[in-house]
Amino acid sequence: MTSITENADIRQPARSGSEHSIAIAAMAVILIVLPWTGVYPYFIMQALCFALFACAFNLLIGYGGLLSFGHAMFLGTAGYITAHAIKEWGFPPELGILAGTLAAAALGVLAGLVAIRRQGIYFAMITLALSQLLYFVYLQAKFTHGEDGIQSVPQGKLFGLFNLSQPLTLYYVVLAFFLFGFLIIYRAINSPFGEVLKSIRENEPRAISLGYRTDQYKLLAFILSGTLAGLAGAVKVLVAQNASLTDVHWTMSGEVVLIVLLGGLGTIFGPVVGAFIIIAMQQYLAGFGQWVLVIQGVIFVVCVLAFRRGIVGEIAYYTGRSL
């Protein structure tokens, strides 16, 4: 595990708060303006959902040093619950998202209790096994409609006010959810809790010897990560208007690893950059047909060989800042 996580810059000055606030504000402004520059809003929304998903995943691996290979279960579970609640039970979108996110949180508690007892490859395998277990449950369960997925989920009106079938309204709602999740993660990383998490990543026995109950910290990080991944899945339902097996499949768990590695493991902005690149490739290279996956693979190989810290990680390393 350490061979992956040692890249994360630990030499960073502790006081980089004001720089971060400026960078986060700049990101928010760019995202607010982006749909007016002619970029297709549905594409940005899709990318934002994956960015939040990747940020949540990054909290666990980049700061906790725990490689989960089953994060798709949170994304997919929240998606199914949200879609079902909105479509079948007639929930308004805000309650649907809440229901989905809570379901992911509950799943995070259960999966976390089992998974955090092991480290490294065993932790990855246990999370993978749990997510595969859920995949087959969803494949057979009646309410998910198997391979069909839950189709044509109505978008409805948020708080009875905002009509989400308007692309721009939907965009700003998605952006608000993304920023909300992003700030929670940022706050968590820069809190005493985050510092303990980083110390566990660097040297768990030493953290224990200092009197920290590392299992509790890891469990909390796992639940937080799962919940926010669930939030991403719940919001994604409103964007795509369907929930399908794609989101619980193990390839989705792999995709989020790819996004985070490409953007920069253990960086604040890396997952966002990675998500935009991967989603842009899927969207704009779809015309190349069978070559999309090959191109994705080549980029991954180049990334691993040429810039191992990821895009943002390399920039942070050469500018000597933490990003």
């Binding site: 002619g38 297709y40 549905y42 087959f136 198997g146 069909d148 997925g149 795509a240 369907n242």
Partner: protein, 406 residues
């Protein structure tokens, strides 16, 4: 450089905006072929369907009459959300008028909703779910080539009559498989047969051993394969390894394509019965088209019925545009006119499109030839029976589609 680039972007944005606001009739049309280009349905549809659409554009002769018709394509990777995203972007940004093909029923049903919402035209050839023209029928959709009702009716009836009266199903666990199993079971029981049971496997499975052992233990005379593409060929190959056919049980491929037979080889596939609506060696016209088609395919393959359906549906769509005197960019209007006009193309002959969007043409029950009977490359089928067009598809009085109730 930057300035000219900026100008170019601005101009194209203006042109795009003009296109969006001016919903008037013009002589442009854009056809998007959306299908599987990298996975289990790539041989059935894939690049061949794109080629078929291009050939239809060329054969329509509209480009010589001042029309501008573009064909674009994309891979939906058999994922409904990838498919809907591409379709939405095609309508919103690329100004696509028609989405053609779309194999995999789960993606097909999702696209059906998007096309209705965006008032486009959906020329389905690849997806089989009969729901597209029954419970989920839409005024924007034409379902061309085949559907689960036809497959069930053709193969199910013929085999029960030939003595195969006990069935066990091996079903792909998604919309298409469920629909196929449901429809075939109904036909089998209606004709005096019995369903002994069934097992469902996930899409794109590589190991069928446990499913096949259950099928073997059921002692059913017929093992019905309610799956498609790579899943069907894999299950047939593995069934041969388990000695299911030599043990006296018979395999019925409920959906087989010529590309599957080509992949399996006649040794493994001989004697199987199944239903299709197109075979390249059916008559002079199909032979002429297929020769032209296969010369332009990278692997020189003959067209499958899905690819033939894309060709014929696109051709009929373009004829309709010509009859309308221009493209109104209004899906409901164009599809209504398509239903009004009788169809006539070299591959499926004369036919009609019913009010629910169902294209009516005959189905054919084929049997795979023995290796000794095959005289030339791709000589694979012999015609066993023809199912007339009025019996091949869901009868009007049994369809819940509201478009049929006038």
């Amino acid at each position: 450089m930057t300035r000219s680039l900026a100008m170019l972007t601005l101009t194209s944005a203006l042109v795009a905006a003009a296109g969006a606001f001016a919903q008037t009739t013009d002589k442009n049309a854009k056809i998007g072929v959306l299908n599987d280009q990298s996975s289990l349905y790539a041989d059935v549809s894939g690049a061949g369907s794109t080629l078929a659409a291009q050939m239809a554009v060329e054969d329509s002769g509209l480009t010589g009459k001042g029309w501008k018709i573009d064909v674009i394509s994309a891979d939906h990777q058999n994922k409904p959300d990838v498919g809907t995203n591409i379709a939405r972007q095609w309508f919103d940004v690329e100004k696509v008028d028609v989405i053609a093909d779309v194999p995999t029923s789960s993606v097909g049903l999702a696209i059906n909703n998007v096309v209705k919402e965006k008032n486009g035209v959906y020329l389905n050839s690849g997806a089989a779910a009969s729901d597209l023209t029954t419970t989920q029928c839409s005024p924007n959709t034409v379902h061309w080539t085949y559907d689960t009702y036809l497959l069930a009716n053709g193969t199910g009836k013929a085999l029960v009559k030939a003595g195969g009266d006990t069935w066990y199903f091996l079903t792909a666990d998604y919309a298409f498989g469920h629909a196929l199993e449901r429809d075939t079971s109904a036909v089998v029981t209606a004709n005096g047969g019995k369903i002994l049971g069934g097992v469902r496997h996930p899409l794109n499975t590589s190991d069928f051993s446990s499913f096949l052992l259950q099928a073997q233990a059921s002692k059913a005379k017929i093992v019905g394969l309610a799956n498609a593409g790579g899943d069907t060929t894999n299950s047939i190959k593995q069934a041969a390894e388990f000695g299911i056919v030599t043990g006296g049980q018979k395999l019925a491929g409920l959906l087989m394509f010529i590309s599957d037979i080509h992949a399996l080889g006649l040794n493994t596939a001989q004697g199987m019965n199944f239903t299709e609506t197109f075979y390249w060696d059916l008559n002079d016209q199909t032979r002429a088209f297929s020769k032209r088609f296969s010369e332009r395919m990278r692997n020189k393959a003959m067209p499958t019925m899905v690819q033939a359906g894309v060709y014929a549906a696109t051709l009929h769509y373009l004829k309709t545009l010509e009859a309308l005197g221009g493209n109104p960019h209004d899906g409901v209007k164009v599809v209504a006119k398509m239903k009004e006009m009788p169809t006539d193309d070299p591959l499926f002959g004369k036919g009609t499109i019913r009010a629910d969007g169902r294209k009516l043409h005959p189905g054919y029950l084929f049997e795979v030839k023995k290796p000794s009977e095959s005289k030339y490359p791709w000589d694979y089928y012999k015609l066993v029976a023809t199912i007339p067009a009025d019996e091949a598809f869901t009868p009007v009085d049994k369809s819940p589609c509201p478009l049929l109730k006038k």
